[in-house]
Subunit: 226 residues, 2 copies
């Protein structure tokens, strides 16, 4: 009767509102402590502790002890991807968001998705890179072309360091607001952090929103034309 893996177990892990809030908070890509996560979810520290144990046991989250703190992050890109898929379906199917605040527009424009750029500007960048032949799909994954590699290097990213990791350089990730692909993977992460280093944008506190300065937005448009 039972075929394939046990999806109910891990779906149930995400299905609790408190845990879902923690996971959403971790979509920022930052490593958060247990108490921070408790705050995000609006629950006590004890409860958060048990939740974290379950999430980690279920392989959705990995933790690292450092002094008296315990930092948690999403276990891998796959989990982030899964969460975005969930958001996509949750967004369109049914009684949508609880409260459509002013933040919502900002989130749709540019936000962080597991440390890479998502939202309108994320898909814009993806389209630009794709159209100019800097990235392409081989059958299974996304990869940089030769010209793409030089472009990325000239943008100030050290590809050699990234390549030392086993993780794929490029992946695509489906955007819940745009329902289109954007650039994930280690290059995607590096691109975003480089933009922040360049002063183009900054991350808002306690939020996934990325705010571009007007000059930053201009530079962005110049670097990623369509």
């Amino acid at each position: 009767m039972k075929e394939g893996p046990d999806i109910a177990h891990i779906a149930a892990l995400i299905g609790d509102p408190a845990r879902a809030n923690m996971l959403t908070a971790l979509m920022s890509g930052k490593a958060l402590t247990a108490t921070e996560l408790a705050g995000e979810a609006g629950i006590s520290a004890q409860t958060a502790s048990t939740h974290l144990a379950k999430l980690s046991e279920g392989g959705l989250v990995v933790t690292r002890k450092q002094g008296r703190h315990k930092y948690s992050t999403l276990a891998n890109d796959g989990v982030a991807h899964l969460l975005e898929s969930l958001m996509g379906i949750a967004a369109k199917s049914g009684h949508l968001r609880t409260r459509t605040g002013p933040k919502d527009a900002a989130l749709r424009k540019a936000r962080v998705c597991y440390n890479h750029l998502a939202g309108d500007m994320g898909t814009h960048m993806y389209d630009s890179l794709m159209q100019r032949g800097l990235i392409l799909h081989d059958e299974t994954d996304l990869s940089l072309t030769q010209t793409g590699a030089t472009f990325v290097s000239e943008f100030g990213i050290d590809l050699d360091t990234l390549q030392r990791n086993r993780a794929p350089l490029c992946r695509d990730c489906l955007d819940w607001s745009e329902r289109r692909a954007h650039l994930a993977g280690s290059v995607g992460r590096a691109m975003l952090s480089r933009m922040i280093d360049l002063g183009w944008a900054r991350r808002l506190e306690n939020s996934r929103v990325i705010r571009f300065s007007s000059s930053g937005e201009a530079a962005f448009a110049k670097h990623f034309p369509l």
Copy 2:
């Protein structure tokens, strides 16, 4: 505090074992009646009825009344895609499948995923089509090339009829066993049903397994070389 859509609600829908079993059964792509689904999940008809109401209300499933039967299917490709993602994560993270039966190997080789071909042979076909330039990625989706369209037509598929639908012709779908892409979308569905019409393969009862005859497998290899 709450950003983005409510993922907990729909994750909770999938998180119940009975409902998860129903959804997995629907991954076959067949429309199943309420009692059939009750059987799949191992619960009574009444309980299945309430579960179906919730699934439909949550937008994961659509139902159609026909006489005294009520047929359910997955709501759209996105839901199927989400379920496959879940299986992928569930498969690798943690205490894996409950029981690795003989069926498992067959499932990995060829199975149906929302009416299209998945598993080893599914990714094989995808790779072949991609390598020969019959399908390609534009920035957002997958599409047939000119030569791809004639290939598909010569295979015996009426593209005009398919195109009348609003649904995308091609999509890619991530395989939980192979962790690679395979061909979904209406063309993917048509390909599989054509293979069955040609007698290459048949679907096993009460299972997602697709069994190719030896001559069918030979024909498959000939049509989709690498």
